[in-house]
Symmetry: C2
Subunit: 334 residues, 2 copies
């Protein structure tokens, strides 16, 4: 639906976390990316060639993907000049922000004048049902985090990649804008109406072969005051057979909430598992995924060893090391 | 905004729980109700005079309120003839259903032809913020239930009524269609976009006098697979200082989920309190509200005594007995 390859728009991102959409596309579909476009003041870098619009067009780019998110998900006025120029030069635009391209009358007018498309992947395109809580065939795994943006999507994509390499039946199920931009399909869960959240997750992960695994993309955190309801709906709509605990060990406070500390992995386990067992009494916590990107190899491995001993569960960094040990743990219960 | 008094439309409700909207209006604003309109096969009764449309008009009714909800919240085809006739006879229509009156082209046409209004109280009229998790002044209490439809709204309305009678500062904060129809104000929480749920509850319960109590209307249940995400957002957006546990002791299974048993009051306490303390470490469970409407006085009192002894907390039926003992418990921590 969205034409590839992409030029990734990083805008005036204040930090690397703000460009997780762009980073995700670059990491999981590098073949679809020709470069990045950064405005003055941009503090992020996804390590692809910097290009202006003309260079990217010459390199074949068809769509400018807004790969940056600011708090509240609005389309910043400081991006507008570049977005208009992109449309004039022949790019389509794609966005997963809450604020929609289609609601910006100036962009709509420019797109129309130049025959270009505006793609809002955040908008639900399906009328989801209310969840019925019924047991479904097939297996499901969900990563739950001590915080938002700790690597839950990466963990799911890495487990899916490892399972496919082993010839196991496996599907990544996207629930956010990045995942949908990466895979072209999914539920934009944080834009779903409250009553239909859990139902949309049931819809996304239907009956399947007994030996098939759905890797459901996690969202938010049970410990994050802004988004815990979304996490709750994933746990109860997803009916996971297995939980992975996701953590980023260097964070000073909960993302966007300076007054809140991150919980321990033990606290996360003790909160999430009883909630998951309401809908799937057989659910188990099978492993721990740590985002160690802030550290060198030695510090990362030392931390993972400590966590593994402390928690009695396999612990790894799926991006640094691959998700093989998590898949081993899933295979053992499958 | 909505013209009173009302004629309450019960439609072809299959049971009494299906008409909780009508029952709530009748119990808390009886002065606004002239009667009820029931279709053939209706199994519900809110104990006001049965009237047809002409009789209700003669008695002064101005608005036909859809006081019945079916699963999924759609406007049933079997109601349509009566709704058209009501508009033709001079009634406005008001509804809190998910499916909107304004989306039914035939009703829109009839309303327009006869100069009548269609009120959809379910539709959010405010652009809510994302929750910031910041501590607010004033006190808040939230009822959490073992299931949906166990009396959480009644409990909040009864506590508010008792506090006002004592001269305490107190506000009922509606989060559902009945509460909004009763009070004329509130957040239609189950129609809010997922990312803004907790923020809408923060917006609904802002800073207030230190000795003011907000009685936040509860929704769903942490143990209900379909709606637990909404409950979670109420707990984290509401930042309650006090929780009331709500229960209906005769129910055979979770509402709408035949495969799920209700949790014990102990399980509800142990699940809800740690979640509430994430955002308000001082939160306490202060009392238990039991809907004993299925029982006679002796059985009800005996059950309440047992629960009170077992849980070590005041237990009462706020509708049968008033909420005085719950307000005593709140006053003691206020």
């Amino acid at each position: 639906m969205i034409e590839t390859p992409y030029l990734l728009f990083l805008g005036d991102a204040p930090d690397q976390l703000a460009v997780k959409v762009a980073q995700g596309i670059r990491d999981w579909r590098p073949e679809n990316v020709v470069g990045q476009l950064r405005l003055p003041g941009c503090q992020a870098d996804v390590k692809v060639p910097d290009m202006d619009l003309a260079e990217a067009r010459a390199a074949g780019a068809k769509t400018l993907v807004i790969g940056v998110a600011n708090r509240g998900g609005v389309i910043s006025d400081s991006w507008k000049a570049e977005l208009h120029t992109a449309l004039e030069q022949g790019f389509d635009l794609a966005s997963g922000l809450h604020s929609l391209l289609r609601d910006e009358q100036d962009l709509v007018a420019t797109a129309k004048a130049h025959g270009r498309m505006l793609h809002d992947v955040r908008v639900p395109s399906v009328k989801y049902p209310i969840a019925n809580g019924k047991k479904r065939s097939g297996k499901r795994v969900l990563a739950v985090g001590t915080d938002c943006s700790v690597g839950k999507m990466y963990t799911a994509l890495a487990m899916d990649k490892d399972m496919r390499a082993r010839g196991m039946k496996s599907t990544f199920r996207a629930t956010g804008q990045t995942g949908i931009l990466v895979t072209g399909d999914g539920v934009p869960l944080d834009a779903v109406i409250a009553d239909f959240m859990a139902g949309s997750v049931e819809w996304l992960t239907p009956d399947n072969d007994d030996d098939h695994w759905d890797h459901i993309e996690g969202q938010g955190s049970l410990f994050h005051a802004s988004f815990s309801g979304v996490t709750m709906a994933l746990i109860h709509g997803g009916q996971p057979d297995a939980l992975i605990l996701s953590h980023e060990p260097t964070r000073a406070h909960m993302r966007g909430l300076p007054d809140y500390q991150l919980p321990t992995l033990e606290a996360l386990r003790d909160m999430a598992l009883p909630l998951a067992r309401i809908v799937n009494p057989g659910c188990e916590v099978v492993g721990i995924a740590v985002n160690t990107s802030a550290w060198g190899e030695d510090q990362a491995l030392s931390y993972l060893e400590d966590v593994e001993r402390r928690m009695g569960l396999p612990a790894c960094d799926p991006f640094r090391q691959g998700a093989g040990r998590l898949v081993d743990a899933l295979d053992a219960i499958g």
